[in-house]
């Protein structure tokens, strides 16, 4: 009897869909997957409904890949649903793993977001400023939409997560590796990060590293780079040293500083704070005023440090 096919499901919470595309980017490999697995639920790709998932027995799914952060009640509902229904739930991609780009919203309050979107927006005709509510009645019918949470959560904030696959999006060959590992059942200990290296991007980055002493910071377009030399040493912000490798050094190889999407290394609990500690230490000045001047070359450091992981940071959100 042919081995029973693998029952897998994919879902996207507060996401851009990039992670789903990344799964497709494994090109023909997806056909091998299809050969051994039934995709039972993948809203972006196949036509499956929530009801179908609710109808499943608990643990019926062998693998669920959840990408995207938890921004509203629907995301949480599906997350809990998939948790119940699947043996292995994977937080797939930066949003699920650390809150991702949507996570930056935690720097502002819910009211400021709604005002920006629905009130103070140039494209809104005056007089028709309406803010969507969880329950509203239209033409005599009550209309329910998911409630917009006051902050963004990581997947692991709402459900137990078996594995984390970092990356925005995870590199196709990493996706392939994860899927193969699942197929072959060679998964490491629960709760660990898979589909990434245990060393920082610098380990795989070809640029030569030497004296780390920075006297000024620049945007990439402001300087003529030496493509053989470490970017940070040229004053271009690159978080490669504080970020797991595994992405194939995509950004530094294209002359852009790493932005840290693969998340922190094992020994680090707060990626942004750790990078801050490292970066500030190599500022080459002993005079407080001069230091402040050099650091002014970083216009919005918080957003850079926690671009993909504000909800995963120690303070998780703003307390204004």
């Amino acid at each position: 009897m042919a081995a029973k096919k693998l029952q897998i499901a994919l879902y996207w919470g507060a996401a851009c869909g990039g992670c789903d595309v990344a799964v497709l980017d494994t090109n023909e490999f997806i056909l091998d997957v299809a050969a051994v697995a039934d995709v039972r639920f993948w809203p972006i790709a196949v036509d499956g409904k929530y009801a179908d998932v609710e109808a499943m027995a608990d643990g019926e799914l062998d693998l669920a890949l959840f990408d995207g952060a938890v921004r509203n009640s629907e995301n949480e509902h599906v997350a809990k649903l998939l948790r119940a229904k699947s043996k292995v739930l994977v937080a797939f991609g930066s949003c699920a793993h650390m809150g991702g780009i949507p996570g930056l919203a935690n720097l502002v309050t819910k009211d400021e977001i709604l005002a920006t979107a629905y009130l103070a927006n140039a494209s809104i005709e005056p007089g028709s400023q309406t803010i969507p509510h969880a329950r509203s009645n239209v033409d005599g019918m009550t209309l329910e939409i998911p409630t917009f949470y006051r902050r963004v959560y990581r997947l692991s904030d709402v459900v137990d997560v078996d594995y984390f696959v970092p990356g925005c999006p995870p590199a196709p060959d990493q996706v392939k590796a994860v899927l193969l590992a699942v197929v072959k059942g060679e998964l490491p200990q629960r709760g660990s990060v898979v589909g990434a290296s245990e060393r920082a991007v610098c380990d795989d980055c070809k640029r030569t590293k030497s004296e780390k002493k920075v006297r000024s910071f620049h945007r990439p377009f402001e300087v003529i780079q030496d493509s053989s030399k470490c970017l940070l040493e040229q004053g271009i912000l690159c978080m490669g040293s504080a970020t797991r490798s595994g992405c194939g050094v995509r950004c530094p190889n294209s002359n852009q500083g790493c932005r840290g999407c693969y998340g922190p290394l094992a020994g680090v609990s707060d990626q942004g704070a750790k990078f801050l500690s490292a970066l500030a230490s190599i500022v080459d000045s002993k005079d407080p005023k001069e230091i402040e001047q050099i650091l002014d070359g970083l216009p919005d450091f918080t957003s850079f440090a926690y671009r993909f992981g504000l909800p995963a940071s120690t303070l998780q959100r703003s307390y204004r």
């Binding site: 942004g272 801050l276 500030a280 230490s281 000045s285 002993k286 450091f301 918080t302």
Partner: protein, 144 residues
């Protein structure tokens, strides 16, 4: 009963910790709100420790080191001097009031200065009221 802030103090062993001990031997009284953690050098204090203290319920964090030029390891305090402004911009974005996290140079002979800093900081943080990050995070887990 007025609000009693909890302040975590990271003191470097050679200068500020010794200064704090001197305040002790000289019996200089200061508020008990500060709880001191000893590190060998202010260069060992990671910004993440400050964030962790705030997240664990501290209402204020005081970082102390040797005066520039006095560092037992000759350049340790310059690292603290460099990390502090960047940490302050981070805290501003997180909405943590400026007076809650502070960097002060205290030499081994400045027992009085250490006490004055603790008195001043306790008053300022008491005026700001509780920081409530810990309670807010606990609330986040429940109310959405």
């Amino acid at each position: 009963m007025s609000f009693e802030p909890k302040i975590v103090g990271f003191l470097c062993n050679w200068c500020s910790y010794t200064g704090a001990d001197l305040a002790g031997t000289s019996r200089i009284q200061y508020p008990p709100n500060i709880r001191v953690i000893r590190v060998m050098c202010s260069a060992r204090i990671e910004p993440e420790f400050v964030l962790r203290a705030l997240a664990a319920g501290a209402d204020g964090v005081l970082i102390c080191g040797c005066h520039p030029g006095d560092c037992h390891y000759s350049e340790g305090n310059y690292k603290a001097m460099r990390r502090y402004p960047l940490l302050k911009t981070l805290l501003k974005d997180y909405g943590v009031d400026d007076d809650r996290v502070r960097l002060e140079w205290v030499s081994a002979s400045e027992g009085q200065r250490f006490a004055d800093i603790v008195i001043d900081m306790t008053e300022r943080v008491r005026a700001l009221g509780p920081l409530r990050i810990k309670t807010d995070l606990q609330a986040d887990a429940v109310e959405r």
